[in-house]
């Protein structure tokens, strides 16, 4: 027993990820935390997407289930769980059954290497970024299986589109990623790294986020990646695989209830995963903004108040809306609910002001905030853009993004060579 406690405690003094420390107990805890966090993130995204999209489209969005529809995701989840689970009569039932799980597995496994902070990752792999790209590319298998197993035309076309699209955009994405990885090698030893934590550490050491590195090369690579990642996750304006006006629902037309919700979960999980790749590679991961311009311990402490302040701001919003709630008795429960929710947020906010907590939570906060920015972008795209046609999408991937990505890579390598004085013609 004592040994077990010691085993648990031994990690607390170490300064690495639980995976690197080889501590199974803490690794399991981290896995639980991360996966719960991702699931909560999906729930938040569900609500946020409906609300933000609704406000962009001059409507209110969900308002009935809970105050301002806050409980809508739970109602939806309940509805989906209670729905009849239909497997089409001539579908390939085993593949039909396993497809959503493969998609989910791929979407969630990548979070193993996502660095929320220098120690806040489940593990740090030597091939971190490669692992992320590889495993997230497996989700296309699930989509193809789902489309084929449904034994129906619309899902099949959806699956074909999806697989072609994802395989093509992976190439452009790869070039963008490689040009960022090249930048990690700009140090005294001249060797770069593929580890997710290492990439952020490199940005810290070079005191420059890679998006600003070799301006505008870093920016271009970042841009290519952001376009490719939208295509990779099958989201608007590249949501051809599930284009509702053409293919009813694409590859998951025949899915209902819980299985469908698994696809939904995987889609949002994958969105977060690719966003966190972008954040790690170009936006400095867990590093706080303006580390050079606003440097010094004063600014450090000011920025450490941000997490708490954000939650307090959200709590204030809640209280403001509570005050604006209709005074009719019908709304009493909702008003109380909103106030309680605000109080909860305020409590979390105050907790985050405690120095011991704020120091630990800061990295996670900045990382999550950056990812959240990307998630907002996803919603924004969906609200504003029409959908590309399939051949236009492929043309864009192969004839625009790929050459630009290749050029950026070559230029980055050249500039890096010159900067490192390695250019010996």
């Amino acid at each position: 027993m004592n040994a077990f406690v010691q085993y648990i405690e031994s990690y607390l003094t170490s300064n690495v990820t639980p995976g690197a420390a080889g501590n199974m107990f803490w690794a399991s805890i981290y896995i639980l935390i991360v996966f719960t966090g991702v699931s909560v993130g999906v729930i938040c995204m569900n609500w946020l997407e409906r609300k933000v999209l609704a406000h962009m489209q001059v409507r209110l969005g969900p308002m009935r289930v809970g105050p301002h529809g806050l409980l809508q995701p739970f109602a939806d989840a309940l509805k989906l769980l209670l729905k009849e689970d239909i497997i089409p009569a001539r579908a390939d039932s085993v593949i039909f059954w396993s497809a959503p799980f493969i998609v989910d597995l791929a979407a969630f496994t990548v979070f193993v290497v996502v660095p929320f902070g220098p120690q806040h990752a489940i593990t740090d792999m030597n091939i971190g970024i490669l692992f992320m790209l590889g495993v997230s590319s497996l989700s296309v298998l699930g989509i193809v299986m789902a489309g084929w197993a449904s034994n129906s035309h619309y899902p099949l076309i959806g699956a074909l589109r999806s697989s072609a699209q994802m395989v093509s955009y992976e190439v452009a994405m790869g070039f963008a990623v490689v040009s960022a990885i090249l930048m990690t090698s700009l140090n005294a030893t001249g060797t770069g790294t593929l580890s997710m934590i290492g990439i952020v550490e490199a940005q810290k050491a070079q005191a420059e986020w890679f998006i600003f590195k070799f301006f505008p090369l870093g920016l271009i690579a970042f841009f290519i990646f952001t376009v490719a990642m939208v295509a990779e996750t099958n989201r608007a304006p590249f949501d051809l695989a599930e284009a509702e006006s053409e293919l009813t629902a694409g590859f998951h037309t025949e899915y209902s209830g819980f299985r469908w919700s698994l696809f939904f979960l995987a889609e949002y999980g994958a969105m977060m995963a690719v966003s966190s790749i972008a954040v790690t590679l170009w936006l400095g991961g867990w590093l706080r903004p303006f580390p050079n311009w606003l440097s010094g311990s004063t600014w450090d402490s000011i920025f450490s108040y941000f997490p708490g302040a954000t939650f307090l701001f959200l709590a204030t919003l809640c209280f403001y809306e509570t005050a604006r709630m209709p005074k009719h008795p019908y709304f009493r429960i909702q008003t109380i609910g909103l106030a309680v929710f605000g109080a909860l947020l305020a409590l979390i906010g105050l907790l985050l002001f405690v120095p011991a907590v704020s120091v630990r939570i800061q990295d996670i906060f900045w990382f999550t905030a950056k990812v959240a920015g990307f998630m907002y972008l996803y919603i924004w795209y969906r609200g504003t853009f029409p959908r590309y046609r399939f051949d236009q999408l492929m043309r864009m991937g192969w004839k625009v993004l790929l050459p630009i990505g290749l050029g950026t890579l070559i230029l980055t390598a050249g500039v890096a060579l010159i900067q490192q004085n390695l250019w010996r013609p």
Partner: protein, 383 residues
């Protein structure tokens, strides 16, 4: 041009074989499909995503409106025509009333004609708004739909205030109008115009220069002027192909010859041109309404119409420029209180014939865009 039309829709003697000779898919789009605007069923034969041919199956919404007309008196049939093109019910009513008036050789008083123009043009805007919203939705832009429906609401409010109904209005009567305009009608219409003018810019801001929108609409669903005329296509689709044909100018009815407006035409006959033509038409409609409201005369709203309408034996064809094209009514009278035959020439039905010509060789996604740009209403196609 001609050979393409004379091919039977699913003639596959010389299909474009791909290298792998992959399966040709036959897909049933509809009758319950999100993008077929009702219960249109399109049988598509695809090579991959390329359309080899298609065939429209219609009739799912057939209600026998024309046959009903033979068993109703002239006045009783009036509300039925609203149910054909239900998003432009006012235009349908105008066409029918004017056709019967022509048969009876009476003319509606000038005030009634002005109000008719105002309401019809408002309805044109409403119809085009609905087209724009759903068309953009088909192409994947969700947001314009909500903008257009928000503004369409204002028009429907005016309709509701005037005749008590929002959609199937039954706004006009044979010989004029049933009701005098309500208090503040002119002011409300003018308010709407001032409200609406910036809204058109708002729609255009979202779409007109949007790169994806341009790529999805330019060069898609092209149809030449000759094809249009040969197929009998009318309305914005015809005008976008470069033919300046608008019944409001060509064979003026109601009071249109007194108003100053322009007829927009396109050059390429593609989806983008049709979009632009309709956008300009909305602006022109605003212009017409403005003139009509400004010059709204005082006077009676109903001509002298016999209590029992018994038109003389004969036939009449009268057509108007409905939002979707030429809407014609052919009425044969045998001298009794009921028409001997009512035949409607619905613009949607005729325009739908062009779908195959416009879609061949394009991709599935373009079929959706083309169905959207044809602006069909299945209630009118099937009648």
């Amino acid at each position: 041009m001609a050979d393409q039309r004379t091919l039977s829709p699913l003639d596959l003697d010389t299909p474009d074989k791909t290298f792998l000779d992959a399966n040709e898919l036959v897909i049933n789009m509809g009758p319950q499909h999100p993008a077929t605007h009702g219960v249109l069923r399109v049988i598509l034969r695809l090579d991959g995503e390329k359309v080899l041919g298609l065939e429209c199956v219609i009739g799912y919404l057939h209600r026998g409106v024309e046959k009903i007309g033979e068993n109703r008196t002239y006045a009783m049939f009036n509300p039925y025509v609203d149910r054909m093109d239900y998003v432009a019910a006012v235009s349908n009513g105008l066409g029918y009333c004017e056709a019967v008036e022509k048969l009876l050789a009476i003319e509606a008083p000038s005030r009634a004609q002005h109000v008719r123009v105002i309401l019809t043009e408002l309805n044109r805007i409403a119809s085009h708004q609905l087209w724009l919203g759903t068309h953009a939705l088909d192409i994947g832009a969700i947001t314009p739909l909500f903008y257009t429906f928000r503004d369409r609401e204002e028009i429907l409010k005016i309709f509701e205030k005037y005749c008590g109904a929002r959609l199937t209005t039954h706004a006009f009567r044979i010989g004029g109008l049933q009701y005098e305009t309500y208090n503040g009608f002119e002011k409300e219409v003018k308010n709407f115009l001032n409200f609406f003018r910036p809204k058109i810019d708002e729609y255009e801001e979202l779409l007109t220069t949007n790169r994806i929108w341009l790529e999805r609409t330019k060069g898609i669903g092209k149809i030449s002027a000759e094809d249009c005329i040969a197929l009998g296509v009318t309305g914005p689709v015809l005008r976008a192909s470069g033919v300046k044909w608008d019944i409001r100018k060509a064979q003026p009815y109601a009071n249109y010859k007194n108003f100053d407006f322009e007829i927009p035409t396109g050059q390429n006959g593609d989806t983008y041109d049709r979009y632009i033509v309709r956008m300009i038409e909305m602006r022109q409609a605003v212009r017409i309404i403005e003139q009509a409201v400004d010059s709204l005369p005082e006077g009676p709203i109903m001509a002298k119409v016999p209590k029992v309408m018994k038109p003389p034996v004969g036939e009449v064809y009268h057509s108007i420029e409905a939002p979707k094209g030429e809407l014609g009514y052919f009425i044969v009278s045998d001298g009794s209180t009921q028409p001997y035959r009512v035949r409607v020439r619905p613009p949607s039905f005729v325009n739908l014939q062009a779908l195959d010509t416009m879609c061949r060789g394009q991709l599935v996604a373009d079929v959706i865009a083309v169905i959207g740009t044809l602006d069909i209403v299945l209630g009118e196609v099937d009648r």
